[in-house]
């Protein structure tokens, strides 16, 4: 199968959806003439022009609110946050307007928007630019959140998100944009991955490593080490979508392995892993042979120092250590 970079898989999804639906419009800072701060939208302005690919001023609350308003009248905006970290200046628009307006209108309105951009640490840019708010936004009913780990998932989830009739927030990752992976050729037909479907990235029998986004790659690396050095067979469950959540896949894996380590780049307090841990203890308590363990970012604002930041984040070694503590 052909290989694509993660950023190019995203671009292909955007390009295909611009062609698929004339109401799709890409909006964001530097997405058009500059070709995207991280080159996700490279070439799309050239191809689609200024009506469909729009540079906005640095005005997250303004342009995201504008997108929400436009979506109420049937436009389908796909808006880039240069960093998801900038959510804080648009929070009212993201939560109260995108997330609640349907409910407050008794279902008379729906908000088919996508907000996308990178949400990750590990790039030595300090606390303000390193937030991972997937758990934060998944906590608001009305919003949907996903975090693809591979180029194929990035493409398939992006296409589903754009066709979805509710607000979907896609958390990408600057550390993944340059990764390469197999993505089906468009000639083989539409490639969509439904929201709410997890993917078993590696089968195993002794412990379930449950993760999303870049943490999935740490889990895969850890699983390799666990097999080679410790004869432990780890299963890697990639959530892909945080809300809706594939609870069935999580429980199925835990029932099989009887042990779970949750790997989550957000902070431990009320991160995605907190919710998964609660679900596991409630629905698979009798199947557990050990406490559910977690590997999160160390609980402080993101440190700048490139000497140490990778140690604050989940990494394969920290995952292995947690598995060994319950193996």
């Amino acid at each position: 199968m052909r290989e694509l970079l993660y950023r190019h898989a995203l671009r292909e999804a955007l390009d295909e959806e611009l062609a698929h639906d004339e109401n799709v419009v890409l909006l964001g800072e530097e997405v058009a003439e500059y070709n995207g701060a991280y080159k996700v939208t490279e070439g799309l302005w050239d191809k689609w022009g200024s009506k469909r690919v729009v540079d906005t001023p640095i005005s997250e609350a303004g342009f995201i609110g504008m997108g929400v308003g436009a979506s109420m009248l049937g436009v389908r905006p796909v808006m880039e946050l240069m960093f998801w970290s900038f959510h804080s200046v648009a929070f009212d628009q993201l939560v109260n307007n995108a997330g609640c307006v349907r409910y407050m209108a008794g279902g008379k309105i729906n908000v088919p928007i996508v907000v996308r951009g990178p949400a990750n640490g590990g790039t030595n840019v300090g606390a303000t630019h390193s937030h991972c708010p997937e758990g934060l936004f998944a906590a608001f009913p009305g919003l949907k959140v996903c975090a693809p780990a591979t180029p194929a998932d990035a493409k398939g989830l992006m296409k589903s998100a754009i066709r979805d009739n509710d607000p979907v927030f896609i958390m990408e990752n600057t550390k993944l944009y340059g990764n390469s992976g197999e993505v089906p050729d468009p000639g083989e037909g539409e490639f969509l991955i439904p929201l709410g479907k997890a993917d078993i990235k590696r089968e195993g029998s002794d412990v379930s490593l449950i993760a999303h986004g870049r943490s999935v790659l740490h889990c895969l690396e850890a699983a390799e080490t666990l097999r080679n050095d410790h004869k432990i067979s780890a299963e890697v469950v990639d959530l892909r979508s945080i809300r809706p959540l594939d609870q069935e896949a999580i429980l199925k894996s835990v029932v099989k392995t009887n042990r779970a380590v949750l790997v989550d780049e957000s902070k431990p307090f009320n991160g995605v892993s907190s919710q998964i841990a609660a679900l596991i203890q409630e629905h698979a308590f009798d199947h557990l042979d050990a406490p559910v363990k977690r590997v999160c970012s160390i609980d402080a604002p993101a440190i700048y120092s490139h000497h140490i930041e990778d140690e604050q984040l989940p990494n394969a070694r920290r995952v292995v250590d947690q598995v060994l503590s319950i193996a």
């Binding site: 504008m66 308003g69 109420m72 307007n97 409910y103 008794g106 309105i109 959540l245 594939d246």
Partner: protein, 362 residues
């Protein structure tokens, strides 16, 4: 008592002969009167019900400002849309929402316009081009921008009317919206309903400005105007110009319509007559009440008699009483209803709505 004439800059201006008003039939003018009276009766009687604990939360009354919503909304055509903040009952009734659905919403009943999920601040009627009813000060200002964006994107010759209070002009997102509106040439008309007080803080204590609030538009190279809100003719004449600018030239405007609210910020505002003098409130009621002024105007023009006006008021009272009965006798939402209207895909029972877990209650 003789009315003092309006204060500058409004003195001696008569907008009854402006083109958009010249074309009005006597029936149109009477309908405006009826709508204003209906709004006022609806709210007066809603206040009574609030005081009887028939509704929860806040109740932000529009009484005193009726000519603004009625005048502006009367100019709306098929492709014009409207959005406002939490003081939304007047706009709702002006676009043609029924008293029944509005009162039932206040009562938290499932027959309410938002099925009892929005309340006083969150009335919606997308089928009448009314997009709420928004609770966060200035939170609706980029949404109004988006409505205009969508109209232009789809090539429709309409505009968005986005109402806000004078307190909203100091929120950052409002300025972001003005900048984008001017930069992208969005057909939106921002209408500041300036009732002089952002909650309990007077205009001079909350906003820095030179001559008036709308003048801030100059910073964005945007057209603006100041409107005497007590005169329905003037509201229509000047709003019409701004709407035409939006529809035909895709140029936004900022209007400041001067008006006054007789009640507090909300009915929970216990200080409504402390941050302003009783004299001030009385002066507005006596000399500047938009409904009384319109009534006098129509009588002078020979379109209305005092008796007919009285009868319309009675009719509005009756209609409101019926709405109260409707609200009272309607059922509240059920616990099951809580989980509906969150996700479109779930409500519509689509494949996406049935994939993965959407709610986390156990």
């Amino acid at each position: 008592m003789q009315d003092p004439s309006a204060e500058p800059p409004f003195a001696a201006m008569d907008f009854s002969s402006s083109p958009v008003n010249r074309s009005l039939t006597p029936q149109d003018k009477i309908d405006f009167y009826r709508t204003m009276v209906r709004i006022r009766r609806f709210e007066h009687l809603a206040l009574g019900q609030y005081q009887k604990d028939k509704m929860g939360g806040f109740l932000h009354l529009y009484i005193g400002q009726e000519s603004v919503a009625v005048g502006a909304v009367s100019l709306m055509g098929e492709n014009d849309h409207v959005i406002t903040a939490y003081r939304d009952h007047g706009h709702a009734l002006a676009v043609g929402m029924s008293m029944d659905e509005c009162m039932a919403e206040l009562f938290g009943k499932v027959t309410g316009c938002s099925k009892g999920k929005g309340g006083s601040m969150h009335f919606f009627a997308p089928d009448k081009n009314f997009w709420g009813g928004h609770g966060i000060v200035a939170g609706q200002t980029p949404l109004g921008l988006g409505l205009g964006y969508a109209l232009k994107f789809k090539g429709l010759a309409g505009c968005a009317l986005c109402f806000l209070g004078d307190g909203a002009i100091n929120q950052g997102v409002f300025h972001e919206s003005l900048n984008i509106a001017a930069l992208f040439e969005i057909p939106v008309v921002y209408i500041i309903e300036n009732n002089g007080y952002s909650m309990g803080t007077s205009q001079t204590r909350s906003s820095a400005y030179r001559d008036c609030l709308a003048q801030r538009a100059e910073a964005y190279n945007m057209a603006w105007d100041l409107v005497n809100g007590e005169d329905l003719y003037e509201v229509r004449a000047k709003t019409h110009i701004a709407m035409e600018r939006a529809r035909k030239e895709h140029r936004p405007s900022l209007l400041e319509i001067q008006t006054y609210r007789y009640y507090g910020h909300s009915v929970a505002d216990a200080n409504a007559d402390k941050y302003r003098t009783p004299d001030e409130i009385e002066r507005y009621k006596t000399y500047h009440d938009p409904i009384r002024l319109w009534e006098r105007r129509l009588i002078e023009e020979g379109h209305l008699t005092a008796e007919e006006a009285k009868a319309m008021e009675k009719e509005a009272t009756k209609e409101t009483a019926k709405a109260i009965k409707f609200a009272e006798s309607s059922p509240p939402p059920t616990v099951d209803d809580i989980l509906h209207d969150v996700y479109w895909e779930v409500d519509e029972d689509t494949e996406a709505g049935n994939t993965g877990r959407h709610f986390f209650n156990d």
